[in-house]
């Protein structure tokens, strides 16, 4: 599978997160097995894998919550198992489960974490104002945190992870359990954060989610890396290209076309229209990464 890898060559200065042979075992189970990652600064990196692939374990190691069994990690220039405090200063981590306190207002919740990250008190008011604006919760400032909707809690959780202005953001399945609208909002939020220059590492088993917003993607299965690179690189490295289904008006007829890239899809559409056929719809047979994912992990799953 390594011939699929189209790893971008980047110099050391611009690497935000790196792992070398990262391994975490629970007894005989290899939750993470020799993971090598290098995540460029400022990129949005998607870690994709089914449940139990080792995504959360990897993130916990990067966030200094777990010590690896073997191998090493480097986050923002520090090894999380040697310098956890330095890593914590530079990393915002959002776990896959989110809990909120009861009897606490949104503002008080953020104040607590500002204090816990030693943000000077004089800056709290402005900081919290900015964060709430960023995650669009300004009107909820005085609401109780446990009264928020799931999507709002998720965004509050993100604001919490940003309290100390970290350079690296680690978000474990941030989109899980959100309705489509909340997902779109989350995606826009992450795009905004990328514009702010943050390195974002995000995991999901919902593949279509990550394809659009990630600059880099890695596919994880049973603790091993199956593929990594930009979504485009991986797609173009596939021998078969994309399958396009064209639906025509006035009939059950469908045309299946294999195309390599967007230009070819456009070409097919133009040719069909030029032929005088009324094209109703041009869709992909499988959404890109999902398809890729299914093919790559075939046989490995189960």
């Amino acid at each position: 599978m390594s011939d699929l890898l189209a790893e971008a060559v980047v110099d050391d200065q611009s690497i935000a997160v790196r792992t070398e042979g990262l391994t975490k075992t629970y007894g005989a189970l290899h939750a993470v097995a020799g993971l090598d990652l290098s995540i460029p600064r400022g990129s949005t990196f998607g870690l994709i894998g089914p449940n139990g692939a080792g995504k959360s374990t990897t993130f916990a190691i990067l966030a200094s919550l777990l010590t690896p069994t073997a191998g090493r990690a480097e986050v923002a220039g520090f090894d999380p198992s040697i310098d956890p405090v330095e890593v914590r200063r530079r990393v915002g981590y959002m776990p896959d489960v989110m809990g909120v306190y009861d009897n606490l207002r949104v503002q008080e919740y953020l104040e607590f974490f500002a204090a816990a990250y030693a943000v000077p008190r004089a800056r709290w008011s402005e900081l919290i104002g900015n964060l709430l604006e960023l995650v669009d919760l300004t009107v909820k400032r005085d609401s109780m945190v446990d009264s928020l909707s799931r999507g709002m809690k998720q965004r509050l959780s993100l604001a919490r992870a940003l309290v100390h202005d970290p350079e690296v953001l680690i978000l474990d399945e941030p989109a899980s359990g959100l309705d489509p609208r909340a997902r779109v909002e989350l995606r826009e939020l992450l795009l905004e954060l990328r514009k702010m220059g943050k390195t974002i590492i995000v995991s999901s088993h919902i593949l279509a989610e990550l394809e659009e917003m990630c600059t880099h993607v890695a596919i994880l299965e049973a603790g091993r890396l199956l593929a990594s690179g930009s979504p485009r690189d991986i797609r173009s490295a596939l021998p078969t290209g994309r399958r396009i289904v064209v639906k025509l008006a006035g009939g059950e007829e469908q045309v299946h076309v294999v195309a390599d890239d967007e230009e070819q899809v456009a070409l097919v559409r133009r040719l069909l229209v030029d032929e005088g056929l009324r094209v109703l719809q041009v869709v992909e047979a499988d959404s890109g990464l999902e398809d890729l994912f299914m093919r790559i992990t075939k046989g490995v799953v189960q």
Partner: protein, 386 residues
């Protein structure tokens, strides 16, 4: 709520959560009502015999003492129940609510999280204890209680509260669920309060009534014994009306004090059988180790092999007379050495330390140990040196 700048963040947050709404105030009011009720009952029970005619100063003083001791007993018992209840959820509760991980990866050090939790769960308990003090003033009015006694008792109850909170906090870090943590914390407190008495009783039976120095050590970590030791003992004049729930513990402590006096004669076994009642000398085979003890150059009775220890006919002679006759220990260093060498089964230097000092020591060890273990469980990840 405006809170000061330097406040521990965990404490500040918990304070906001816990003190929100009327719950805390309602509990406080109920608590005070219960206390007033108890004071009334004790007052009438203790002064019942004196209702006809003007009670004497002594009787009133006895009533005052009864009221105060009962209050202390009640508050101490309450502390033993409430502290594990409010503390055991401290960390386990965050684990259950899935808020622990975000807290752990902040820049807060584990001990600072623990101290914040400790202060938060003790804040309310301290409030309850302080709210009791005005009621204790009733005993001032009646006499029989010195202000210093109130201060000593309050201080010791607070120390007990802190200790139990530390132990419960350790439970809270050790167990994943609040329920498990609470049950185990309560069990540990029960062990301290009741288990030590049971173990002590078992030892007494095994040693056929002999109270050895070491078995006394069992009771050092008992909250009720510790508080009993800082409360004034009952005087003979007050014996009728000055009943106190601490009386059994104070009798035990009285025994210890007598051993203390006896140990100045370099013989730990001789006095131990004779309580205040003077139940007669218990025949004990002489301990071979006693022969090794070098008697200092005093008029204390020499101890040859063959002479059984209870050679001095103590029960027959009033206690005070014996005390007057005996010289003070002339060479405590020597005594320490013999104890350290294990010659003295009763550990005489230990019995010379006031009981409450030993208790404070035990509580400190318990608190610091629990906190250290708890901090280790909160610290993540374990440092790797490979």
């Amino acid at each position: 709520m405006k809170l000061p700048r330097t406040l521990n963040p965990v404490f500040a947050r918990e304070l906001r959560q816990r003190m929100r709404g009327p719950r805390a105030a309602i509990i406080l009011i109920l608590y005070l009502l219960v206390l007033v009720f108890i004071v009334q009952i004790v007052y009438f029970a203790a002064s019942g015999g004196a209702n006809r005619g003007a009670p004497s100063i002594e009787t009133l003083a006895g009533v005052g003492r009864s009221v105060f001791h009962t209050l202390v007993f009640f508050v101490l018992g309450l502390v033993c129940f409430i502290v594990p209840g409010v503390t055991a959820s401290a960390v386990a509760g965050e684990r259950e609510r899935q808020t622990l991980v975000p807290l752990q990866i902040t820049l807060l050090r584990p001990w600072s999280i623990l101290v914040g939790k400790l202060m938060a769960s003790l804040a309310f308990v301290v409030l309850l204890i302080v709210a009791t003090l005005p009621l204790a003033a009733v005993s001032f009015l009646l006499g029989g209680v010195e202000p210093i006694e109130v201060i000593r008792a309050t201080a010791m109850v607070l120390v007990v509260a802190v200790t139990l909170a530390c132990v419960s906090l350790w439970c809270s870090t050790f167990f994943k669920r609040t329920q498990g943590a609470t049950v185990v914390a309560l069990a540990l407190v029960f062990l301290l309060c009741v288990g030590t008495f049971i173990a002590f009783g078992a030892q007494m039976i095994l040693q056929r009534g002999q109270v050895q120095g070491r078995s006394q050590l069992l009771l050092v970590a008992n909250p009720f014994m510790a508080v009993a030791d800082v409360l004034d003992r009952r005087d003979e004049q007050l014996s009728a009306s000055g009943a106190s729930p601490f009386t059994p513990m104070q009798l035990l402590l009285e025994q210890r004090r007598e051993r203390q006096r006896d140990s100045s004669t370099w013989s730990t076994d001789s006095g131990s059988g004779s309580g205040p009642g003077g139940s007669g000398p218990v025949v004990v085979p002489p301990r071979p180790t006693a022969t090794v003890v070098v008697a200092p150059t005093t008029s204390g009775p020499p101890q040859p092999d063959a002479v059984p220890q209870p050679a001095v006919p103590q029960p027959a002679v009033p206690e005070t007379v014996i005390r007057d006759v005996r010289p003070a220990p002339s060479n405590p260093i020597l005594a320490d050495r013999t104890a350290a060498a294990g010659f003295e089964p009763g550990v005489p230097w230990l019995s010379r330390v006031p009981f409450w000092v030993l208790s404070l020591l035990a509580f400190t060890v318990l608190s610091v140990g629990s906190l250290a273990l708890a901090a280790r469980r909160l610290a993540l990840p374990k440092p790797t040196f490979s």
